[in-house]
């Protein structure tokens, strides 16, 4: 299954929307850098991302942006080693930027 890596805020670019057009059940989705704003339950994009099984967000990016205490719902927070694990478990890996 494909791993999709998105690194832009959903309010800046169309990356996330474009990614979700090709996303299939079973694919993984990792939010990094400015994309982690999309992980918030209070985000207008929550309906697109919450309650999907394989959606992740990088902890370092959540912390940097001051979002640690905010609700990210069903989205799993992972560290850099778990990021590597995701790229091992999935193939291909597609970056959206």
């Amino acid at each position: 299954m494909t791993l999709h890596i998105v690194n832009k805020s959903p309010d800046q670019t169309q990356c996330l929307k474009d990614c979700l057009r090709v996303f299939r059940p079973g694919d993984g989705l990792l939010l990094i850098e400015d994309a982690v704003y999309g992980a918030l339950v209070n985000s207008p994009y929550a309906a697109l991302l919450q309650n999907r099984p394989l959606v992740y967000a990088l902890i370092a990016d959540i912390e940097a942006r001051g979002l640690s205490a905010m609700d990210t719902g069903s989205i799993k927070r992972i560290n850099d080693k778990q990021f590597v694990d995701l790229t091992v478990q999935h193939s291909p890996v597609q970056s959206w930027y």
Binding site: S9, D34, D61, G66, A69
Partner: protein, 120 residues
């Protein structure tokens, strides 16, 4: 020369790109040169103001710390896009500095009051 009314518009979230930080450096420089300046945080730019930022893990300097020092430089003309706050369900309690809200229908007239707009 007559002083130029100058506005810095901040549209980008912090960290992902250096532009957000570089806009703050322009503001601090204007303050040092005692040039009147206002800042408007619009769209994703409102994220720059968020408290509790901890950027050690990504090895960048803390963005909100710079903003929290603005009043020391007499940078107090800070405005925020109220719609963007509301969409993100943010309140003034979340922010490191006092900002004045502008409604969506006030933004265009507000911007038009300036001689120069620098957008980041």
């Amino acid at each position: 020369m007559a002083p130029k009314r100058t506005l810095i518009v901040c549209r980008k979230p912090p960290y992902g790109n250096a532009l957000a930080r570089e806009a703050l450096d322009v503001a601090l420089t204007a303050a040092v040169f005692e040039q009147p300046l206002a800042m408007l945080f619009i769209g994703d730019g409102v994220w720059q103001l968020l408290d509790q930022q901890d950027s050690a893990g990504i090895k960048q300097k803390n963005h909100s710390k710079v903003i929290s020092a603005f009043p020391l430089y007499e940078l107090t003309e800070l405005y925020i896009d109220a719609d963007a706050m509301q969409q993100r369900q943010l309140s003034h309690d979340h922010f490191v500095v006092a900002v004045k809200p502008l409604a969506a229908d006030e933004l265009g007239d507000f911007i038009a009051r300036f001689d120069t707009v620098l957008s980041f």
